[in-house]
């Protein structure tokens, strides 16, 4: 290929312009804002104002703890479930494949607001269908909204329902790119299906699973709509407040942009750190 600077940049300019204005500059800008006191007019440079507050703020540590707790439990459960879905959907023995695919993939198109509303209604204490069904099989009702543990469980259930199929689609595509003859050879050598799964399928899927895990971690790190709408602004009493919700409250309710930017950069730092650890853990052996 010849160098064609002018032509290339003519095609790239509109995209790069949007990129520069709405991403590159904001990335720099929010870093700078996090070092300013933003509730005075004009804003003034105060390097420790927000960051100092952050490390002493119980609300921040509560949101951080909740976010990490959801991350550590929900992401592995969801990815495992997505692997199971993908492997079973890929089975040649499966009948009516289209129906099963629809069931697992349909949540992918459902908006956060729509499904938050449904989950809120389904899990309500006295009239929610879930508690009615629990009761009808002799189990006690669960107060999903007034106690922290069930409220956290509810958030994780909702997110898992919404995103497991999405990850299953990606993993299924990965499965289908594994050539059949790998399995044929193993079957000829009388390797059991279970062994084939753990010794052939999983190692070959590793890059795809890591990709899913990284995307899920970044998504869950920013969890906002579910605790905002399902458990009503992070209730009960901040029990499901996440970093995303804290950022929203600080930035857009209290209009404290400096502090909210410090929270945003903490999220970015965590996301980058977790991504790097994950890439390092799953690096190709030399």
């Amino acid at each position: 290929m010849r160098y064609r600077n002018a032509t290339a940049y003519r095609f790239l300019t509109p995209y790069l312009l949007i990129f520069a204005i709405f991403w590159i500059w904001p990335i720099i800008s929010s870093f700078l804002i996090s070092f300013q006191a933003t509730r005075t007019v004009p804003w003034r440079f105060a390097p420790t104002f927000n960051w100092g507050r952050l490390i002493g703020d119980p609300a921040f540590f509560n949101a951080l703890k909740n976010t990490l707790l959801i991350l550590v439990i929900q992401v592995p459960v969801m990815i495992s479930l997505a692997i199971v879905m993908a492997v079973l959907l890929n089975s040649p023995l499966l009948k009516a494949r289209g129906l099963y695919r629809f069931a697992f993939f349909a949540p992918v198109v459902v908006g956060e607001v729509a499904y938050s509303a449904v989950f809120r209604l389904m899990f309500s204490l006295d009239f929610g269908i879930v508690n009615k069904l629990l009761n009808s099989v002799g189990l006690p009702k669960i107060d999903w909204f007034s106690n922290v543990t069930p409220a956290m469980a509810l958030i994780m259930i909702a997110v898992t329902w919404r995103w497991a199929g999405y990850n299953a689609i990606i993993i299924l595509a990965g499965l289908q790119s594994i050539p059949d003859d790998v399995y044929e050879a193993a079957t000829l050598d009388r390797v059991s299906k279970v062994k084939q799964f753990f010794h052939i399928t999983l190692p070959l899927l590793k890059p795809v699973i890591v990709f899913c895990a990284v995307l899920s971690i970044i998504g869950t790190m920013q969890l906002f709509t579910e605790p905002f709408l399902i458990t009503e602004r992070g209730g009960p009493g901040g029990g499901t407040e996440t970093l995303g919700l804290l950022l929203y409250r600080q930035g857009f309710r209290s209009l404290n942009f400096g502090y909210a930017s410090a929270v945003a950069y903490t999220m970015a730092g965590l996301a980058i750190a977790i991504t790097l650890v994950q890439l390092w853990l799953t690096r190709e052996p030399k």
Partner: protein, 278 residues
């Protein structure tokens, strides 16, 4: 031989015995959304277990329209999603074309920073974007605010770059020998060839715009400027509100997308899976 086919039958049954309940659980919230949307509020909040649809959808829809101008909000959502999809497909395919087919100064840097943003949380740019659009540009509660800032997307460009770089170079070289201009080659040779990929990209972008919640919630918070998810979200948590109405709104947001999903499943899945298969 019999024992082998018996084992096969046993495995088939076990597979379906496991997968069927899981599929039913997965469909249950969507089914209940439809059921709730057809029930009067006193039916939703009654002690009995109701699992079949009733006939109150229109009443619920009227209640919803009384609580908020949902039809107007749907109109905004549709127009914004259509415009956004068109512009975003155009921008990302132009950029993808440049990255796939030309050598130019700074290419490595451009690709590296696009890749870099994949793992960066959106939260980092949210506050400056808001300050810029609402305060500096004074564009809050406009269509521009809803459409322009989300136009940047990294996975779309990488997807289109992949699509264009898989096409044989001879196709374009032949046109160049004839003296055809580069932008004509892009528009009339490359884009038509990329139609399946453009369809996949367009569906994913349309869905993202249709369901987008946080940014429209922040930037277009005035009643007449809200998108449909934001308008519906304002009702959740209010005390005097029709839940049947909220469910009717949820159905109106969801069912069209489910129909699109069923009809264009191949493109949909290609669009999502493309993120991973590089």
């Amino acid at each position: 031989m019999t024992s082998r086919s018996q084992r096969r039958l046993g495995r088939t049954i076990a597979l379906h015995l496991f997968l069927t309940p899981l599929a039913l659980i997965w469909l249950f919230p969507l089914w209940m959304m439809v059921v709730f949307s057809t029930m009067p509020d006193n039916g939703i909040f009654s002690p009995g277990i109701e699992l079949l649809p009733h006939d109150g959808f229109l009443d619920n829809f009227n209640n919803l329209q009384r609580d908020t101008n949902f039809v107007g909000a749907i109109g905004i959502s549709v127009s914004v999603a259509v415009t956004y999809t068109f512009l975003s497909v155009l921008l990302t395919s132009m950029a993808g074309w440049a990255l796939a087919r030309y050598e130019f100064l700074g290419k490595g840097i451009v690709v590296a920073i696009i890749f870099g943003t994949i793992t960066l949380p959106y939260a980092v740019v949210l506050i400056p974007q808001f300050i810029m659009v609402a305060r500096d540009f004074q564009l809050a509660n406009t269509w521009v605010a809803l459409i322009v800032p989300p136009l940047f997307n990294s996975l779309g460009v990488l997807f289109m770059r992949q699509a264009f770089s898989m096409m044989p170079a001879e196709l374009f070289d032949a046109a160049r020998v004839e003296g055809v201009k580069e932008w004509r080659i892009f528009l009339f040779v490359a884009l038509p060839l990329a139609r399946p990929m453009l369809a996949a990209l367009a569906i994913i972008l349309f869905l993202a715009s249709w369901n987008n919640y946080l940014w429209p919630l922040l930037i277009n918070s005035q009643p007449g400027a809200m998108t449909a998810p934001v308008a519906l979200g304002t009702l959740i948590g209010l005390t005097k509100v029709s839940w049947g109405g909220i469910m009717a709104g949820a159905v109106m947001l969801t069912v069209p997308m489910l129909i699109v999903f069923v009809l264009l499943q191949r493109h949909f899945i290609a669009g999502i899976a493309a993120g991973a298969v590089k």
